[in-house]
Symmetry: C2
Subunit: 330 residues, 2 copies
């Protein structure tokens, strides 16, 4: 994690802007050493995940730097949430370029600071480089989970139900609003855009799903694509009921105006909700959880009783083709 001297003011950047984000974390060594030291609670695995966000690919270059930073951190926290893990800290590898001003970085760090505080997750280290490419942010997040209790993609069993947290499609609809391919009333558009820019990692619900869910993952590439990953890892076939998919008023408005938006809702991404499976007899426990969290946990499908693979979507008992699969995050 030595900081290569390819950009003026890089060491100052670290000392003045990044080091305060490591406050209270002795293992960060003040961001002044080569490494970070992490201690894991007895009986726990360390859980780690890394995600790269590239300007113009995974976010819009015109997005506010504050929300870019928060999204970069949150998509990683969402992966920890999906495993039922408790966050510990994170590393940040930041590749800047000459067009990025100090003022831009200050706004970026201000956004990051909000989430460092909100999630109680310190910056433990990183690497700041500079190159000719677009702004590239690779965050590696760390958490811990009791051994044997991590929610994996591979545990779904025939006969399980499939559930999701929150509402689906907001991120993709928000992006459409930003790209002006969809026109929604202002309040609805603002809700969807906020969902696109600042995903909510479902950490508390993820932890509560341990012992209840048989498999879990977060929805980043799109509901159908990610449930497909779960189906593949668990070697089961999954049927989703389109009319059961929980929708926000913004997404409902888009679909009411034009049913073609279903494709974006089911095939789009940036939801960062959790999709999970559990045996039908645990549905009452799921309802209790939803009541406790005052948050929607919705059954949207089933794992087929017979072995198989893949995801099919039905509506009113009829098969629905889902044409959009390769998701673009901008």
């Amino acid at each position: 994690m030595s900081e290569k001297g390819t950009r003026r003011g890089e060491f100052t950047l670290i000392a003045e802007l990044f080091a305060p984000l490591s406050k209270g974390a002795s293992g960060a060594l003040g961001l002044a050493d080569d490494v970070a030291l992490i201690d894991v609670s007895p009986g726990c695995h360390l859980v780690t995940t890394t995600d790269t966000l590239i300007a113009g690919v995974h976010f819009r270059e015109s997005d506010p730097p504050e929300t870019i930073a928060r999204k970069a951190l949150r998509v990683n926290l969402s992966d920890l949430a999906a495993k039922g893990a408790q966050p510990i800290g994170f590393l940040q590898a930041l590749s800047l370029n000459d067009s990025i001003t100090d003022a831009y970085i200050e706004r970026y760090v201000a956004g990051l600071a909000v989430d460092v505080q909100e999630f109680g997750i310190p910056l433990l280290g990183g690497d700041t480089t500079s190159g000719p490419g677009p702004l590239t942010i690779t965050i590696t997040a760390f958490g811990e989970v009791e051994k044997g209790s991590a929610l994996l993609r591979s545990g779904a069993r025939p006969g399980d139900i499939v559930g999701v947290t929150g509402t689906i499609g907001d991120g993709a609809v928000g992006l459409a609003c930003l790209n002006a391919t969809l026109d929604l009333p202002t309040a609805l558009a603002e809700h969807a855009i906020a969902r696109y820019r600042i995903p909510q990692p479902r950490l508390a619900i993820g932890r509560a799903l341990k012992g209840l869910a048989t498999a879990c993952l977060d929805i980043s590439d799109g509901l159908v694509a990610d449930v497909g990953h779960l189906s593949e890892a668990s070697d089961v076939a999954i049927v989703l009921d389109r009319e059961s998919v929980p929708l926000s008023p913004a997404v409902r408005a888009a679909i009411t105006a034009d049913a073609d938006w279903w494709d974006v809702v089911l095939g789009g991404g940036d939801d960062y909700e959790l999709a999970f499976t559990l045996p039908p007899e645990r549905v009452p426990a799921l309802e209790t959880l939803a009541a406790k969290f005052k948050f929607p946990l919705t059954v949207i499908g089933t794992v087929s009783a017979e072995r198989g693979k893949g995801v099919t979507v039905t509506s009113g008992g009829k098969l629905v083709p889902v044409s959009r699969t390769g998701y673009r995050h901008r």
Copy 2:
């Protein structure tokens, strides 16, 4: 660590090329989940470090993909070595672009596979993305070290001696040979180029220095710059004796031809040797270690008895100016 669908064949890439690199590591979850699970030995810290290498910035675009991969991993292992840590595994965030062919990636993975084998360090997970920028490799490496025994940058004490492993300046001289700004006999040039392309993380020596050294770091930005980091973190002043700096025949030849190459040797980078401090009474133990490893461990300077900051270089008792400080890795 969900794999964004921005590149055709990405999932195939992971399944066919990357997954074999995770062999034997159950915590990698077959590279098919969102996270990796890591277990740390009782009584140990997890040690983690991340470094980004950008094509055209940290390596030459014309470097062989095999050595690019190995260098990306090894610069991280070098950070673990400097702390006295034992490697556990690594994550790889790879940002590709449209000009990178499958054949290129196959060569890259073949190189990585050599080092996965050599260092017994499995790939635990990652993120593969694609964008318009240059090939960008961010590796996050994990190791473990007994609590209380990590070699930090901050432990140097007044009166300590300063030592280094191996020889200094080979990487920078190798780069000069590649860039044709230096002409050396073929065998010497080849040695220096190999040192530039495939650094040797001093893992065994790093571990052996625990309990002996008071501070340690690896030399990536250049001897004077990195000893400067040690000086700053330890709040001590350091004096290096230029004539004591150990040189390979290649570097010796460059300096003999033109003493100006001293600037490149002292101010250049990509050495990936260790610089460390220890009390003078431990020098005999250091000599024993050098004999045991059959590897040069050389005293090159001292920590001033009085408090202070910064690094000065002397030659024959006279101050030597070191003009080159901002190192370019290509």
